[in-house]
Structure formats: structure tokens, C-alpha cells
């Protein structure tokens, strides 16, 4: 069996440094067969995105030898704790979840406006969320259409043209992706509606998570036996001034 080609760690020749040798980490010399390199993935939040954008402009956090010496931010007891809610896919331009739940009238105007039947009502079992609009990419993905008629249709304004249109993030689970198993497959990159988000190098797709809108088209079209696209809704969305 030819080892299905190249992650970087497999292309590299296995080597030992002195410390490895001292600790007896001889298994490092064994060339491991194809396996996913374990990656801890955290859901992306709106705050992360905002920080990363501003970070480049401001000075980096102070550090000595890689150890941060910025003072720890004091705990502010007068700040109200965030409302308890679980992440769910909302149509583009949705406000922060507690505002959304408070403002959404469950009128279904947004789902009626969706030309692709992508916006559906959250099922009963979801408690307080039931009846609010959501998107399930496994059934029908959001195509981020021109003009976003769902937002225009929203009378209470919990979908708002002034808010970012991102609804989540997609990542590729490499050990499920057929392109990472030596066969040709380029469907996700071809059908992604946002240009430049899914790039293919050496036949293997990677998702640029900063630009991904989370529309879920890639998950909808993925033909791998077990869907290789992991789709996560945004955890925190910006609020509108009350």
C-alpha cells in the first residue's frame, strides 16, 4: 500500500534529537502510516476575529523569552454573565443570540424569502430555540445569495444587513477526506461560493478559516463515505446597541 501522500510530517524524514534520545523516544524513528495529525480545534468566535484584525495594528503583547508578562485582567464582578445558549446555525447577519431569541418573532418570513429552502424552523426538542430560523447544511446549504433576501425579509431586524454575514466555520477532517486518501476529489473547492476560501494544493483541499462564511455548501456536497467537512456555528455574534 503506497502511503497516501504527504502531510508535511510524513514527508519529513524521521529524526531524533539528543533530548529524544535521552528520553528514549525511539518511536519517533518509526515512520507512522497514514493517520491524522491530532489537532485540537476550538470554535472560532467573533471576538477572535476582531482581535486578530486589530492585533496587527497594535503592539504585540509584551513577553520575555516567549512568556507573557502582561498583567492578568482583573475579574469584573459587576459584569453580567453571558446568557446561557448553545451555538446554532442562524441565517446570515444574525445578532447576538440572547438578542436574537428576544427579538425573533418566529414569523418565518426569512425562510419564506430563502430561494433555496435552506432556512428551516428549529425543532421542538430544542426548547426555547424551537421555531426560530436555523440552517442545516446536511439538508440544504445556505448559498449566500446576492442581496440576502432573508435579511431584507426580517421585520424585527434580528437579521441585519449591518452585521457580518458569517454564520460559522468549516474545517476539513483530513482522515475522512478522500483527497487525503490519494484519490482525486475537488468538489468542495469547486462548489464553494466564496472565492479563495478552499484552496487545493497537490490535489488536497484546505479551508482558509478566516474567510470561510460557514455556509455549509462544502458539507452538503462532500461525497466522502463519512462527511469530511466539520461545520461549526459561530459561538459569539456581535450585538446591536439596544
Amino acid at each position: 500500500m503506497p502511503p497516501p501522500a504527504d502531510d508535511n510530517h510524513r514527508r519529513r524524514k524521521p529524526t531524533l534529537n539528543r533530548r529524544d534520545l535521552l528520553h528514549g523516544r525511539l518511536w519517533k524513528l518509526v515512520r507512522l502510516p497514514d493517520r491524522p495529525s491530532p489537532v485540537m480545534r476550538y470554535p472560532k468566535t467573533r471576538d477572535d476575529v476582531d482581535n486578530s484584525a486589530s492585533e496587527s495594528k497594535t503592539a504585540p503583547p509584551r513577553s520575555i523569552g516567549g512568556i507573557a508578562i502582561e498583567p492578568v485582567r482583573p475579574t469584573l464582578f459587576d459584569e453580567s454573565p453571558p446568557a446561557k445558549s448553545f451555538p446554532i446555525f442562524r441565517p446570515p447577519g444574525a445578532v447576538e443570540e440572547s438578542q436574537f431569541l428576544a427579538g425573533c418573532t418566529r414569523c418565518r418570513d426569512c425562510s419564506d424569502a430563502c430561494p433555496h429552502d435552506a432556512i428551516v424552523q428549529a425543532p421542538e426538542r430544542l426548547g426555547q430555540v424551537a421555531g426560530t430560523p436555523t440552517i442545516d447544511a446536511d439538508t440544504n446549504a445556505c448559498l449566500m445569495c446576492d442581496g440576502l433576501p432573508c435579511i431584507t425579509a426580517c421585520k424585527p431586524g434580528v437579521l441585519n444587513h449591518s452585521l457580518p454575514k458569517t454564520i460559522g466555520t468549516a474545517t476539513i477532517t483530513e482522515h475522512l477526506c478522500l483527497a487525503h486518501h490519494s484519490t482525486t476529489c475537488t468538489v468542495c473547492s469547486e462548489r464553494c461560493p466564496t472565492q479563495g476560501v478552499i484552496e487545493v494544493t497537490d490535489g488536497k483541499p484546505t479551508i482558509n478559516e478566516d474567510q470561510c462564511t460557514g455556509c455549509g455548501v462544502c458539507r452538503y456536497v462532500c461525497p466522502a463515505p463519512e462527511n469530511a467537512i466539520l461545520l461549526m456555528p459561530l459561538f459569539n455574534r456581535p450585538s446591536l446597541p439596544r
Binding site: M1, P3, P4, L176, T184, P223
Partner: protein
């Protein structure tokens, strides 16, 4: 390694398909019933089968639970795919369970299809044949299993003395056959897939293996990712996924391949870098006769060859092919380097070509002239598109002019041999070749009073209502002709069953026993694993049941010399088993009986097959398979080469033992370039090329019923160049009308999509039965192989609002 880590590695490896951590006993990535992932001691039974789709011939492991296929995995023990599968392959189990499987014979009465019993269906067919045996035609397929094709062949040629039997493979690889015959005197590649593991240079001639034979292509790209250097040169009329991986992309005009091959030979001669020793010892030169050319051609001297090839200078080739002269010189130099190993791959680009035989012969000629032949990695190799185009069509010879084992109906000694094997009275086999595919459908759709002398057509395992070229001429006319009777054996409703008068529900893939033969001469066997749905039945059974009904009706052809039924199978006590009754069909292994009978035919052309039971044990064996002194059976990887081919005499380096000139030499052909039959003009300014896509197989009757594949590729489309689209103000995704002189179809536009055609060219895949591009294609065909050219004709693209005004 502590046990926790080992546990992690194991689970990670389980999740990863094609991992080496676990032995052959377990398989990962089940397609269906993912929750029941196969583990040791689960309730699934696993068995091997070749994949149902293309000609690559990957093996899959099929997991069955309570009579249902619930999992499919790549077979790690298979040499072809080594555990790997393509996008389609992982889903192959799902093809059995589409919602609209046909489960009952259906007869058209007053325009409506009504269910009937099998007995009645068989009776209707037999009576129509009995009424006019010579007006019956059988249209089969490269997806026929070997026993299915063999039974059909025997019924037609041995029983009915009727040669009107032809397969869809006529549309697929007939020109590859004539190319091999003209060059080596015997069909099918000399090399095998192992060439892909050894070549330094891979040339894809109008071929897109990255999408169409992805598992084979990954054998090359995987070598690269292991650090080996393989140069891929893509010669094509448009950029494809193969181009993405290629080092060089040579964009040619349609038909330019002929000029390019001639140009390479010109350079080899000019620079005196051809392999003089090889040519002198093992080759001869040939060209077609100036009047009524044949496959045999006429011998020409080397001087004559030099004189003719001198006209194809790089500059002239640039004019004819559009490929810069420097690139032609580069190819010439490359072939002049003896230390390199060069493998050429081609499939439909060279076969669906009005000069198909010529270009096939010329590419063989390039390899022979340069001596790039007969070493691992040095080979001209044609690929097939269907799982048994080689095994069934080419070897069993289910063609209008052929008999089993490379024999021809026109040759008296070949007919006599077949009559001998079949124990038939002398003279039973008709000496006149029957109708080839295009002619067969021409005659079927022509009114009887205008000379259309085929009135009953039986179609098995294929979908001509979608795949024939120029459908309006060759198929759609049938609807008006009430005296013509179309019988279709199918698994799902298709474009063909739409016009059928009688539809027979068929068993599919692992619902029956079967044997396929793939592109590299590998014969592959599998067993029935699950029952077909409803009343669906085996195609071989249908053929035998019809034959037996004919026998009951008194057709003399259904008896052999001794008065026995031609398909008689006897048990150990010498009692005939009534295999024509379906409840008794599996009392014995009919496949095995037919295969053992067929084996006798294969030795004449040195395509020796092993006994059936050897194939049960193996993941296929490449013929010639010969028995060793110790009783074991040995397959052959490289034909005609002394180091591997058992039929090359001891001490000889090469022997083309079926040479058309009878002296052990292969023929290097010279063919002059001829322009394509239809070229774009003012009225129809664009080239149209048709083909396949990765996610769907052929007409999509199976793959379009798999939700995941259908989501990945939901519709046919027309690939356009951005500049052409801008010039006509056509937007991405807009539906346009494609028109040719023969028909029209509407398609959405895909600009800069998976394939990127140059200006003036559009590409349309043919899998979508709702958008039939074959309304537009041309029925012009190669003069030798009769294979039509689907790759080039003139069309125009119009915006819908312009077309309607």
C-alpha cells in the same frame, strides 16, 4: 509505546482508509451502516468483488448483513488498487438500493407499461425471434460478465446462425482493438498497470486519468509524494485535473494527436535517435493500401517510411496540431533517450476518433520505433472505460464480426473450430459479419418498407437511448415505428426503457455470480452475495431461458449435433439440470460451466485462462495464465517480452508471435493526417467535446441514484472559456442552448470549472439523462473500427432569450 497511545493509534488508523496498521482481516470506511463499522467478530460476512464501475478493475470488499450489502471497503489484498478506491468506488454498494429498482417484467400495451409474468415475457421474445430469426439483433455491453456475453454469443452465432450481435463497447474501445490488431496481430495491451510504478515519464494522450481512472493515476502521484521523479506530459484539447498534476501541458487542436505522433517519429528519424537494433530485429513498416484500405495494410520499406515521414516536420505539425514546433522537438528528444522509461496512456480521446485506428497504430509505432517497449515502465497502454470491455467484448468476441478467442466469422477455419467446440453441425455459423452498432440501430430505426431489416432488438446491460451518437437519427425514431419491438433488460428506468416495448428486471453486480476482465488483461471472479429485489433475474438466465423456449417451439438451432440443448448442463449422474427454470438456476454454478467451456477457445491467441476455481482464490489473474511444472498457475505481466511471457521462446528477447506478417515482427504504421469530418464554421463556430466526470459513471443510471454522488455532481453542464462567455455576454451558471446540425440541448454554463477549455471549445459530460448531449454529436465513425467520434463536432452556443426570439 504505552498501551493508551497504541489504543489511540489503532483507533485513528481504523478511521483512516487504506491504513497499514491493521492486517488484511479488517476493513475501514464502510459506506453504509457506518455505525456497524467492521470489527473482529461482527455479524458481517465479507467477500471480494471487482467494482461494478470502470475498466480499472479495483477490488472491493463487500460486507453483507442479513441479506443486504451494508458496507464496502477497498480490498487491501488486490494488486490493482491496494485498498484504495475512488469517490465512486466507496459508494458502489448503494447502487443496489435505489428506490426505483425494476422488479417485475413490464410489457407496453396501448402505450402503457403493464406488469406481466416472466413466462409470458420469455414466450413473447422467443416467438418474435421464431417469426423472423434473421431480423433479431442482440445489443450488449462491456458490462456483460464473461458468461453473460458468452451465452449471448452462443445463442446468436451458434444457435440462431445470426451475427447481428454487437456491444456498446463499439462506442468505447473498438479503435483500440483495431490498433492492437494492426500493430501486433493480436488484441490488448502488452504491458500492465505495473508500468505506472516504473515509468519515468507518463504521457496522457487526450486522456484524463485523474478523473476517469483516479486509482491508477494515484499510483503515479503517490510515487511523486514519496520523492520519486515522474514527469507527466499531458497532451489534450483542454485543461483537466490531470493537467493540474502535469509537468508539461501540450494543448492540441482536435485531431492534432495524429500529427503529433507523426512529428515524434519524424524527429526520431531526423535525429537518427530511433532504436535501430530493435526496429531491425523486431519491426516492419506498413501503410494502408491506397485503394480500399484494410487492417492488414501493405508492407513498405524503411526508405519509403522515411520519405513519407519527412513531410511531418515540427513546423508542419505545429500547423496541423497547434502544438509549438519546439514542443514536438522536445517529445522527439524524450523518446530518443533510451535510458528513460516512457508509458503512454490513452482512453476515449484516441478511440472515439474518426482516425481512431490510425492514431492508435501511430502511438504504438512511436514506442516501437524508439524502442520504448517491453521493459517495465516502457509501454503503450490503452485503458478501457467499462469493467469487462476487455474480458467480455474483446476476448469473448461479442462483436458482429467476431467469434470467441480472437476468431472471425469470415474465416472458414475459425468457424469450423467454433462449431467443433460447440459440437454443432458444420456450416451452422454464418460467414457474413452482422451489423455493427451504428448500422444496427440505423436498420432498427428505419421503417421496414424502407429496408430496415431489424425488427426485434434485445438490449442487455447498457443504455443506448443515451449513449448512441446523433440520438435523433439512431434511436428516437423508434417511437413512431409500431412493428419494431425493443426489449430492454435493466435495473432502473433509463432513457432506453422509455421507448422499450418489453422491460426485463435484471439482477445487478453481487446479486449474481460474475466474471469481469479489466484493462490490464486481469480476469476477476465474484460470487452472488445477496438476492436480487422482487423478480429481478440474471441476464445469463434470460438468454438461456429464451434459448430453451425456442427449443420448445422447435427451433433446430437450439440443438447441437447430437440433438442436445446447446446450453445443457448435467449433474454428476448425467441428468440435465433445468437451469432455464429460475428456481433451478442456482442448483449449479452456471457461470463455472460456461467459463470452463469458454476456456477452450482462449489458447489459439495465447490468451490462456486458468480454471474457474483459480480465479475464486485470486484477486484476478492476468492472462496468459499458464500452468507451471508444480501444478500452480502463473499470470503474465509483460507480453511479447522474453523475460516474462511464457510464449516467447527461450533465449529470445522479443517475439510478436501473432505478427500479421508471420515473421514475429510488429508493424510500425504510417498514416497520413486527415482533417476531422466536421470543423467549426461561421454558422457553428465552436468545437464540442463530450466525456465523463469523476462522480458519475457513464450514463449515471447507477451513480445518479446515490445521494452523495448526486449532490457532488447534480447536473450536466457546459464548460466554457471565460473569453467566449464574455464575448456572448453569458454569465456563470446561466442556462444556454447548445445547437448542432443534428440536435439541441439546454445546459448550465460552468466557466473556469473543473476543466478549462481553450477559446472556441466547449465540453459537455454525457451522464445526465435530462440533458442529452448526444442529440448533438456526430455519427461519423472510423472506417476500420466503426467507432463513432464523440470528441469533436461543430456546435454553437446561444443564450436562451436569443434562441427563442
Amino acid at each position: 509505546m504505552d498501551s493508551k497511545r497504541r489504543g489511540f493509534l489503532k483507533s485513528a488508523a481504523m478511521a483512516a482508509a487504506g491504513s497499514m496498521v491493521l492486517g488484511d482481516a479488517t476493513f475501514s470506511l464502510p459506506v453504509l451502516g457506518a455505525a456497524d463499522a467492521p470489527t473482529d467478530g461482527d455479524a458481517l460476512t465479507w467477500n471480494k468483488a471487482p467494482c461494478r464501475f470502470c475498466g480499472t478493475g479495483c477490488h472491493v470488499q463487500v460486507g453483507v448483513h442479513e441479506g443486504r450489502v451494508v458496507a464496502v471497503a477497498g480490498d487491501k489484498a488486490a494488486d490493482v488498487n491496494k485498498g484504495l478506491l475512488c469517490v465512486k468506488g466507496y459508494h458502489v454498494g448503494g447502487i443496489l438500493y435505489g428506490e426505483d429498482r425494476l422488479t417485475k417484467p413490464l410489457l407496453r400495451k396501448d402505450g402503457k407499461l403493464v406488469p406481466i409474468e416472466w413466462d409470458e415475457a420469455i414466450d413473447i421474445i422467443a416467438k418474435r425471434i421464431m417469426d423472423a430469426p434473421e431480423k433479431f439483433a442482440f445489443y450488449g455491453s462491456g458490462q456483460w460478465t464473461i458468461p453473460e456475453g458468452y451465452a449471448a454469443q452462443k445463442l446468436m452465432k451458434g444457435g440462431l446462425s445470426n451475427n447481428h450481435i454487437d456491444p456498446n463497447a463499439r462506442l468505447c474501445m473498438a479503435s483500440a482493438v483495431t490498433g492492437f490488431l494492426a500493430t501486433y496481430g493480436v488484441d490488448e495491451p502488452a504491458g500492465c498497470y505495473a508500468d505506472l510504478d516504473a515509468c519515468d515519464v507518463l504521457i496522457t494522450w487526450g486522456n484524463n486519468p485523474a478523473e476517469m481512472h483516479p486509482v491508477l493515476f494515484s499510483r503515479v502521484t503517490d510515487r511523486r509524494s514519496r520523492g520519486e521523479k515522474v514527469r507527466i506530459i499531458d497532451i489534450s484539447t483542454r485543461r483537466t485535473r490531470t493537467t493540474d498534476a502535469a509537468n508539461d501541458y501540450l494543448e492540441m487542436d482536435p485531431h492534432g494527436d495524429v500529427a503529433i505522433a507523426l512529428g515524434i517519429m519524424n524527429q526520431l528519424i531526423e535525429s537518427n535517435s530511433y532504436d535501430k537494433d530493435f526496429v531491425e530485429k523486431h519491426c516492419a513498416f506498413r501503410s494502408p493500401e491506397s485503394e480500399s484500405p484494410t487492417l492488414q495494410g501493405q508492407a513498405i520499406s524503411e526508405d519509403e517510411f522515411r520519405k513519407r515521414i519527412a513531410a511531418y516536420t515540427p513546423e508542419r505539425v505545429e500547423e496541423l496540431s497547434g502544438v509549438p514546433a519546439d514542443q514536438i522537438r522536445m517529445l522527439g528528444k524524450l523518446f530518443g533517450q533510451r535510458d528513460l522509461r516512457i508509458t503512454s496512456l490513452w482512453c476515449m480521446g484516441m478511440n472515439q476518433h474518426t482516425m481512431g485506428t490510425a492514431i492508435n497504430s501511430l502511438v504504438h509505432g512511436v514506442h516501437l520505433l524508439s524502442g520504448h517497449f517491453g521493459r517495465p515502465g516502457d509501454a503503450p497502454t490503452s485503458l478501457t472505460g467499462q469493467p469487462s470491455a476487455c474480458g467480455t467484448v474483446r476476448e469473448v468476441g461479442t462483436l458482429a464480426h467476431a467469434l470467441p478467442g480472437g476468431r472471425l466469422v469470415a474465416k472458414p477455419d475459425h468457424r469450423a473450430q467454433c462449431e467443433g467446440f460447440w459440437n454443432l453441425p458444420a456450416g451452422r455459423i454464418n460467414a457474413t459479419p452482422g451489423y455493427h452498432t451504428v448500422k444496427m440501430f440505423d436498420q432498427f430505426t428505419l421503417p421496414t418498407d424502407e429496408g430496415g431489416d431489424i425488427n426485434t432488438l434485445f438490449v442487455q446491460v447498457t443504455n443506448p437511448g443515451q449513449t448512441l451518437p446523433n440520438l435523433n437519427k439512431l434511436f428516437n425514431d423508434k417511437e413512431k415505428l409500431k412493428d419494431k419491438f425493443l426489449i430492454v433488460s435493466e435495473v432502473y428506468p433509463t432513457a432506453t426503457t422509455q421507448l422499450a416495448d418489453l422491460i426485463l428486471p435484471a439482477a445487478l453486480w453481487v446479486e449474481k455470480n460474475g466474471i469481469y476482465g479489466n484493462s490490464e488483461r486481469r480476469t476477476q471472479q465474484w460470487f452472488k452475495m445477496v438476492d436480487p429485489p422482487g423478480e429481478a433475474r440474471d441476464d445469463t438466465w434470460m438468454t438461456i431461458a429464451i434459448a430453451h423456449r425456442l427449443l420448445e417451439l422447435g427451433h433446430e438451432g437450439m440443438k447441437d449435433k447430437d440433438g442436445e440443448f446447446i446450453f445443457a448442463v448435467k449433474d454428476d449422474q448425467g441428468q440435465e439440470i433445468p437451469i432455464w427454470e429460475f428456481e433451478h438456476y442456482y442448483d449449479t454454478n452456471v457461470d463455472k460451466h460456461l467459463f470452463e467451456e469458454y476456456r477452450q477457445f482462449t489458447t489459439m491467441k495465447h490468451k490462456n485462462l486458468a480454471p474457474y476455481d483459480e480465479y475464486v482464490k485470486a484477486r484476478g489473474l492476468r492472462w496468459p495464465v499458464v500452468q507451471q511444472d508444480d501444478g500452480s498457475w502463473r499470470e503474465t505481466k509483460f507480453r511479447f517480452a522474453g523475460f516474462d511471457d511464457p510464449f516467447v521462446a527461450e533465449g529470445k528477447e522479443f517475439d510478436f508471435y501473432h505478427s500479421t506478417s508471420g515473421d514475429g515482427r510488429a508493424q510500425i504504421w504510417f498514416h497520413d493526417y486527415q482533417p476531422p469530418p466536421e470543423v467549426p464554421d461561421e454558422e457553428y463556430p465552436m468545437w464540442l467535446c463530450t466525456g465523463r466526470v469523476l462522480e458519475h459513471w457513464h450514463t449515471g443510471t447507477m451513480t445518479r441514484r446515490l445521494p452523495q454522488l448526486n449532490r457532488a455532481m447534480p447536473t450536466a453542464y457546459v464548460e466554457m472559456n471565460l473569453q467566449d462567455a464574455l464575448a456572448q455576454n453569458i454569465r456563470q451558471g446561466e442556462t444556454v442552448l447548445i445547437e448542432s446540425r443534428r440536435g439541441t440541448t439546454e445546459l448550465p454554463v460552468w466557466i473556469d470549472g473543473r476543466g478549462r477549455p481553450p477559446r472556441g471549445t466547449v465540453f459537455v459530460p454525457f451522464f445526465d439523462e435530462t440533458k442529452l448531449i448526444n442529440n448533438c454529436t456526430l455519427d461519423e465513425h472510423d472506417p476500420f473500427s466503426k467507432q463513432p467520434d464523440y470528441k469533436k463536432c461543430a456546435v454553437r452556443v446561444r443564450k436562451l432569450n436569443e434562441a427563442s426570439s
